[in-house]
Each structure stands twice: as structure tokens, then as C-alpha cells.
């Protein structure tokens, strides 16, 4: 393409350094925010005021920040749950269903061990907490195993299966916590039972212990893919199933394994929000919102290109913006959905800027044509 006396060309990039990737992402975020600024202008709000309010509440407010962190941990776990199958070339659109499975596992264990509110559990509370987490992992893994098995054995489309399981999970929870369900809370307001105070997720400086766990999961996954045989086999399969099969990697097994791992992590996300985030400790009426929130994991996984460490800052950003966006909507009397618009635009610019991971724009001064 010609621009004035310059020839503008695209060249394929061979490699992207971490620094370049960071710069590209930051540029994308800035441009995305600039576009959102137009929305603020259109609504008669100074964009600077708007953004200051969003970021101040999302990242610097004593009430907003813990909320942001809890959301970010949740999104990070969902991102990891999406990344593992993604590395194997399969799409886990079922983090919602799997985290519902995790929630059912958590509260199933709590119920069985007598850890309802105003009860005293039959085992030591630490043991109950560990068992509840295992229950969450198992619940998520069971829901995850279904699409994994069907994919490996019958090559069933995993996207359809996981999405259907999201609905199944949603209604399964409804069945359990509403009108006479086994997990129904007292008072009949359509929530699950509250946990006994003794088995609340432990906190450090008021923050839940699932924060280091989520970060640990991300680091562990990073090493799984970088160093381990299993990680290698998953990546090989994801990049080329036929070559992986040639190399002796079982093509039926890989989808099952990655969906089980993904389900386990999503199950933990369920445990995190319903049993460890301070102030909740039950399955609330609006548990469906958390299913919706889990979809940010997909975007986050795609933007971080399957790198669980790169997913951490994105999860934090999305957590803060969903939170701050919702707050600013009320505070500045903006129309409904400003937070969705903000995140939507940001995702589009981030995805669009991935173009620069693969291409460089080259400007060349043209020789004068005779």
C-alpha cells in the first residue's frame, strides 16, 4: 500500500518477546479505553472522571479492591480451566457447568459431614475444608469428564456438549437449593444453606486463602506445559492430532484428560466463590451470574494465548473493570450496561491487536518512479 511517498508493507513476525507482547497489550488497552471514552462523552461525562472513578473503585477502594480480587481469582481459575483443553485443541465452553458441579460437590460434602450453619461438623474443621475442596474438584471433574469422554471416544462436538451441560448444571443447582431441595437454606428465599462458621474458607489479612491457590494453579500449569511429558503430549495433540497419533499419543485419552483437569480447576472456582469468599458462604439466588462471569475466562485465555502466567494480569484487569464499571454506572447515573460495553470493547481491541503478534508494519521510502 502506498501512503504519500512511503510504501507500507506487512511483514511476518517470527517471534514475539515478552516485552513486545506487553507493549502490544498495553497499547490495545489504551485504545480500547479511548473508544470507551467516546461513550462517556456521548453520555455527557468527562471520560477522565469516568475512568478515574472506575479505576479508583476497582483497584484502590477499600470496599472495591477485595471484590476485585475475589472476582479476579475466580476469573483466573476459569481461565486456567479453559486453557488446559485449549492447549489440546478442544474448546471448554463449559466452565459454568463445571463450577456448578464444584459447588454441588462442596456443599454435598458439607451436608454429609454436618457442616451446615448452627451445626458442629463431625470431623475436624480443617479436614472438612480439605474434603469440601476435594468434593469441588471431583464435582467439576465429573462434569468435565463427560464432554472429554464423548470427544475422545465418539468425536462428539465438545462445544455443544459443554454448553448443554451448562444448562444442566444450572438447573441441577436450582433443583438442589430451591423448593425442598436437599441443599435448601432456611427461610425459603431460594438460596442454599449457609455453611457452619467453623468451615468458612480461612482468611489471611481478611483475604481468602484461595488467592495463593489460584496463583499456584497458574504457575503449576505453566510448568506442566513447559516441562512435563503430559504437557508436551497435550500440546503436540493440540497442534497436530495426526502427528501426535504417529508419536504414540493416545488420541482418545487426551481430550478426556484435559477436560478432567479443566473441570477440576473450574470446580475449585466454584468452591472459591461459594465457600471461601468472605461474606457469602452459600450458593446465592443469583448463582447464575457467576456462571456468566466464568465466560470471561474464555476471553482471558484467548487473549493470553494459552499462557497461564500471562492470564494473571488480564484476570486482574477484567475483575477490576467488571467491578468498577458496575459501580460507576450507579455513581455517575449512566445507562445500564456500561460495564459490559467497556469490557466488550476492550476484548475487541485486545483481540484485534493480536494481529501485531504475527505481523510488523514496515515503512519504506519509495524511489521516485521515472
Amino acid at each position: 500500500m502506498r501512503l504519500g511517498s512511503y510504501e507500507v508493507k506487512l511483514e511476518k513476525k517470527v517471534k514475539v518477546t515478552a516485552l513486545q507482547a506487553t507493549i502490544i497489550s498495553l497499547l490495545a488497552i489504551l485504545i480500547g479505553l479511548a473508544l470507551v471514552g467516546l461513550i462517556f462523552l456521548q453520555a455527557g461525562v468527562n471520560p477522565l472522571t469516568g475512568f478515574r472513578a472506575i479505576f479508583a473503585y476497582g483497584f484502590a477502594n477499600p470496599f472495591g479492591l477485595p471484590l476485585t480480587i475475589n472476582r479476579s481469582v475466580f476469573i483466573l481459575l476459569c481461565t486456567c480451566a479453559f486453557i488446559v483443553p485449549m492447549k489440546a485443541g478442544v474448546w471448554n465452553i463449559g466452565t459454568a457447568g463445571q463450577l456448578y458441579g464444584g459447588a454441588l460437590g462442596t456443599f454435598g460434602v458439607a451436608l454429609a459431614l454436618g457442616a451446615r450453619e448452627s451445626q458442629t461438623p463431625s470431623l475436624s474443621p480443617v479436614l472438612v475444608i480439605v474434603l469440601m475442596m476435594l468434593g469441588a474438584i471431583l464435582g467439576g471433574a465429573l462434569i468435565g469428564a463427560i464432554p472429554g469422554f464423548l470427544k475422545g471416544r465418539f468425536n462428539t462436538n465438545e462445544i455443544v456438549v459443554t454448553m448443554m451441560l451448562n444448562s444442566i448444571g444450572y438447573w441441577l443447582i436450582a433443583f438442589m437449593i430451591k423448593e425442598g431441595g436437599a441443599f435448601m437454606g432456611g427461610g425459603g428465599e431460594g438460596t442454599g444453606f449457609k455453611l457452619s462458621e467453623s468451615v468458612f474458607g480461612p482468611t489471611v489479612w481478611g483475604q481468602t486463602f484461595t488467592i495463593p491457590i489460584a496463583l499456584g494453579v497458574a504457575v503449576l500449569l505453566y510448568f506442566l506445559f513447559a516441562k512435563s511429558t503430559l504437557g508436551y503430549q497435550i500440546r503436540a495433540f493440540g497442534l497436530s492430532p495426526s502427528a501426535a497419533k504417529y508419536a504414540g499419543i493416545d488420541p482418545q485419552n487426551v481430550p478426556l484428560v484435559v477436560f478432567i483437569i479443566g473441570g477440576m480447576i473450574a470446580g475449585l472456582a466454584g468452591y472459591h466463590y461459594f465457600a471461601a469468599v468472605p461474606g457469602l458462604y452459600k450458593i446465592p439466588t443469583n448463582y447464575g451470574d457467576f456462571g456468566d462471569l466464568s465466560f470471561y475466562g474464555i476471553i482471558c485465555g484467548l487473549i493470553s494465548q494459552g499462557n497461564p502466567l500471562a492470564a494473571i494480569p488480564f484476570a486482574l484487569l477484567f475483575g477490576g473493570l467488571t467491578n468498577g464499571g458496575r459501580f460507576v454506572q450507579g455513581q455517575l447515573h449512566l445507562g445500564y450496561g456500561i460495564d459490559y460495553a467497556l469490557l466488550g470493547i476492550l476484548m475487541i481491541t485486545l483481540v484485534a491487536f493480536q494481529f501485531f503478534y504475527r505481523n510488523t508494519i514496515v515503512w519504506e521510502k519509495m524511489e521516485r518512479e521515472a
Partner: protein, 553 residues
């Protein structure tokens, strides 16, 4: 330039048809009507230069793919372009067909300077390309494939008219082909003919042929060459691009241009060239064509196959009860035209396809029902025919590609963690030992050329010191240098008493490398013949299913 490109009128292509034949010929001209009348008549004479490239230069990051290439083609001439993989042939071909734009240089068609923005421009000027991989729709008939996308066919094709026109075209160039046949029923040679007809019908007068004989059996190659010679009689100009089949170049071309590393190293009349002189220009050194025969005492049987049958992807019986044995220090060749069950055989033996019935054993252990992984561990080494999609993973580094055959090896993995130092060292030593041209082991496999990729696969498989090597088309598409290398490595493995099953479509290769050869036709062995008694014509005929010789298993 460019003006006549946009009007869509071709300056010259159907002139010959109008002048040459009867009124029926003029009526049945197979190109969009209404164009001929409006265009200037520039009669082409035999020997006129129809396409000329001057100083074509094309750079890619890090390489100059074409460096000041000059080239011209005359009407009624076959001008072969010869060069190894990576010599810049494909780049030049893509530039001449408008798929790539050159960074420097000029192209002249009929003496007029042109610049192609896309292949459409090239097609408008009568340039056609026949790709190496067939771009036909298998479920459609020959006729439907030929008229598909043709501007003259209209949205509701007039089947009768187009049919007549194509029949005329077939008569003219001596193609005998059933226009109603479905493409999936055709042999590779016939498919090639359909591709050529398609470009001719589109109005091509200059045909670029990409590796025209690579997928053909000897009798079909003969037929194709005959048609090609016939076509030049009508002042068509043909530019075959050929990697390594020197005899073909000598047999058909009038002139030949040899490329090496992006530059023209020789341009000669074919009459003055010999196989050795061409190879020297191409490779840059002397090439030995005779492989020394390696005499190794035949040891005990390694691979024993009994009544093995298997299905192809369409669930048809593609391998029919074959029985054979491969011994230590023996190369057992399987010769056949592509699609006669060789691929299925290789996959069944490698454990990648289900055994329908029969038995496979290695060193006396029955492995018929075991997984591929189990067979790798038992000493099988498989070199697949599809290097890019099966034999390697382009997006992974060379180290991780080597790991493809080592991720299950206790020497390289402990407690589920890959010993990255050891795999790196192994990769580095393989790169050195096999002389793989690459900046280093961390480079992605997709950046390797075909020959180097094959070297990597070979190196990786042979480094496991397999008892049984299944080599499926190990030299297909490789240039002279790499082919020589791969063949010598197989002979080296033979010296080390490996049992080798060599599947090849290149009869010369099978006969010069193997100790025994089994021609395969439609999933059956037509016999098993010691190569020292074999006559090329007999084997060729058996590959075509013509003659059955009773052989001993």
C-alpha cells in the same frame, strides 16, 4: 501496461483456433464468446517469444528467493525449470502466475510489459497453472470440473455446448477421457489430464506445470509426456517445473533453465545436456547416480506379516491378505502407484490403523492388537509419507520434534518431567550428524525446507536404532542431494542389520535399494521378486495390474 488487463480481453489466445481449423472449430471455440471479435489479431508464429521475465528478484525475510532471474518461453516450446527444493522454483512459478509480486524485474507477455495483481490477471493473458496437488472435486464429473468457475459457462451452464467444446479440445490435443466419469474414479494420470484440460479450456496458451509426473506410474508418465509433446504442435508453450526427475527433463524439454539458490546457474538446449551435467548444475557438485549395492547377510526374520487385511478411511478393503517377511539386513521394497494400499499397509504396521484380520509380529512377538506406542517400544521405527502433517509438528521447535519419538523413553523422561538438557543435546548431535541446515535446535520445524525436515525425521527415527524401519515414500519430493542422503542412510541402517520395509512410487529407487520387491496393485501383492532377477518393464506392468507372477512369499 495494464490497460488490456482491465478490459478483460486477451490479446492473443484464440487466434490460433480461428485461423487453424474448419468453421466448426471456430464455432466451437471454447472461450467466452464475444471476445475474439474485439481483440487485435496478433498471429503467433512458432518460435515467437510469448513470455519473458527479466531480472526477477524476490526477497523474503532472510533469503533472496529469486535473484535477477531471466527466463523466456517461445510458442511451441517446452522449457523446463529444474532446481532442488529451496532453489526458488516455486517462487518464480508463483510470480509468473501472479500469486506473488516480485520486488524487482519485469514480465513481458507477447512483448508487452505486464504486472499481475493476482492470478486472474495472468489467466486473462493466457497463462495457466496445473498444480501439483489436484484441485478437483472428486464427486463431480470430469465435465463439471472443467467448466466449474469458467466465465463462459454461465450461471446455468449449457452442458451441450460446453461438452461439444471440450470434446473438440480433447480431439485437438489427443486426450482420451470420459467426460461423464466422476473424478474419484480416475487414475492420477487422468486427473492430471483433467487439470490440463481445465486450464486449456480457460484459454491458457502458456501452461505452467508443477511437478507434472510426480504422482504417476511409468505407463501414465509416458502417456502424459506424449500429450505434452502433442500440445506444443499447436504452439502452446509449456513450462514444467521439476525437482529431481532428470530423465523426464531430458525426455520432453527443448530447453532447460537450472536454478540454484535463487540464481540461474545454467540455461541450455536439452540436446546439449546430460543427466550428469544437469545434476551438477543443480546441486553444485558431482552426483553419483549408481548406488553401491550393499551386501549384508540376511539374518533371521524380524517382521512377519500373515494374511493381513485392513480397511481404508472409506471402510473399503484396501489391503487384501498380504503375507511377507522382512529379515535382518534386508530391504524389502513395495512398488506401486499411489493409492494401491501402500499407505494403509504402512499405517497398519505402525499401529495407526486397525487390523481387520491377519497377524503382524516383530521378532516373533505378536503385535497385531497393540497400540502404536507399544510398537515403538518394541523396536519399530516409522517414517511417514506426510512429513508436514504426520511426521512433524511445524509449530514446535526441533527439540520438541525430536521428542516425538522420545517422550515415552525412560532415558529422557523421569517422574513425568522431560529431561530438557538431554533432548537438547540429542537434537544438537542429530543436527550435526545429519547436516541439517538450521540456525539452531530452538527454531520451529515449519521453517525447515522439505529436505531438511525429512533429514530431521529420519535422524530422529534412526537414532532409536529400530529393529524394523518402515519407510513410506522417504524420498518423495526431495531434491537430488537430499534423496541421495536419505537412500544412503537406509543402506547404512541395513548394514547395521535393521529390517527395512521401503514403500516407494519411484521404481528406480525401489529396484536399486531393495533386495526383494513386491509390486502392489489394489491392495494385493502381485508377486515377491528378488530384485536381481527383476526386469523394470515386468515390475511396471505388475504395478499397473497387468501381469501376475507367482512368487514365493
Amino acid at each position: 501496461m495494464g490497460a488490456d488487463l482491465r478490459t478483460g480481453a486477451s490479446p492473443f489466445y484464440w487466434v490460433e483456433l480461428r485461423r487453424g481449423t474448419s468453421s466448426r472449430g471456430a464455432q466451437a471455440r471454447p472461450i467466452a464468446r464475444g471476445q475474439v471479435e474485439s481483440m487485435p489479431i496478433q498471429p503467433i508464429r512458432r518460435g515467437d517469444t510469448v513470455l519473458e521475465a527479466r531480472g526477477i528478484t524476490k526477497r523474503f525475510p532472510g533469503v533472496v528467493a529469486n535473484d535477477q532471474i531471466n527466463f523466456d518461453i517461445r510458442a511451441g516450446e517446452i522449457h523446463a525449470i529444474l532446481g532442488e527444493n529451496g532453489a526458488g522454483k516455486s517462487t518464480l512459478m508463483k510470480i509468473l502466475f501472479g500469486l506473488l509480486q516480485p520486488d524487482g524485474g519485469e514480465i513481458y507477455v507477447q512483448g508487452e510489459k505486464v504486472s499481475f495483481r493476482s492470478p486472474l490477471d495472468a489467466i486473462q493473458l493466457g497463462i495457466g497453472m496445473v498444480h501439483q496437488d489436484r484441485k478437483l472435486i472428486p464427486a463431480h464429473s470430469v465435465l463439471e470440473n472443467i467448466i466449474l468457475g469458467h466465465p463462459g459457462a454461465g450461471s446455468i451452464p449449457d452442458m451441450k455446448r460446453t461438452r461439444d467444446e471440450i470434446v473438440e479440445l480433447c480431439d485437438r490435443y489427443g486426450f482420451k477421457i470420459d467426460l461423464e466419469a466422476k473424478v474419484w474414479q480416475l487414475s492420477e494420470g487422468e486427473k492430471q489430464a483433467v487439470e490440463i484440460l481445465k486450464t486449456l479450456y480457460r484459454g491458457a496458451r502458456i501452461l505452467i506445470l508443477d511437478e507434472p509426473t510426480s504422482a504417476l506410474a511409468p505407463p501414465e508418465t509416458e502417456k502424459l509426456l506424449e500429450s505434452i509433446r502433442y500440445m506444443t504442435g499447436d504452439n502452446l508453450a509449456l513450462v514444467p517445473f521439476i525437482t529431481h526427475k532428470l530423465p523426464i527433463v531430458l525426455a520432453i524439454s527443448d530447453r532447460v533453465t537450472v536454478l540454484r539458490r535463487g540464481k540461474v546457474t545454467a540455461r541450455l538446449r536439452t540436446a546439449e545436456a546430460t543427466e550428469t551435467s544437469l545434476a551438477r548444475e543443480m546441486v553444485g557438485r558431482e552426483v553419483v547416480f549408481r548406488l553401491e549395492h550393499v551386501e549384508v547377510e540376511r539374518g533371521k526374520p524380524v517382521l512377519e506379516v500373515e494374511d493381513l487385511s485392513a480397511l481404508n478411511d472409506k471402510d473399503q478393503l484396501a489391503l487384501k491378505a498380504v503375507t511377507f517377511t522382512v529379515h535382518e539386513g534386508e530391504i524389502f521394497g513395495i512398488a506401486g502407484v499411489s493409492g494401491n494400499g501402500q499407505q494403509v499397509l504402512a499405517e497398519v504396521l505402525a499401529g495407526l490403523r486397525k487390523t481387520e484380520s491377519g497377524r503382524v509380529s516383530i521378532d516373533g512377538v505378536d503385535l497385531s492388537r497393540t497400540s502404536s506406542l507399544e510398537r515403538w517400544k518394541k523396536g519399530m521405527g516409522y517414517i511417514p509419507s506426510d512429513r508436514v502433517n504426520v511426521g512433524s509438528i511445524g509449530a514446535l521447535s526441533l527439540i520438541e520434534n525430536v521428542l516425538m519419538n522420545y517422550h515415552f523413553d525412560a532415558g529422557f523422561v523421569s517422574w513425568g518431567i522431560v529431561d530438557s538438557q538431554k533432548t537438547r543435546e540429542l537434537t544438537e548431535s542429530l543436527i550435526a550428524e545429519y547436516d541439517i541446515a538450521t540456525p539452531g535446535p530452538d527454531i520451529l520445524a515449519k521453517s525447515l525446507s522439505g529436505g531438511n525436515l525429512q533429514k530431521l525425521i529420519l535422524a530422529r527415527v534412526l537414532s532409536r536404532k529400530p529393529r524394523l524401519i518402515i519407510a513410506n515414500l522417504p524420498t518423495q519430493g526431495l531434491d537430488v542431494g537430499a534423496t541421495e542422503f536419505v537412500q544412503n542412510q537406509l543402506l547404512e541402517a541395513k548394514r547395521h542389520h535393521a529390517a527395512i520395509l521401503l514403500i516407494s512410487e519411484d521404481l528406480d529407487e525401489v529396484l536399486s535399494l531393495s533386495d526383494r520387491v513386491a509390486p502392489v496393485y489394489e491392495g494385493e501383492f502381485m508377486g515377491i521378486i528378488p530384485t536381481k532377477d527383476a526386469r523394470m518393464e515386468d515390475i511396471g506392468a505388475m504395478m499397473a495390474g497387468l501381469k501376475r507372477k507367482v512368487g514365493q512369499p
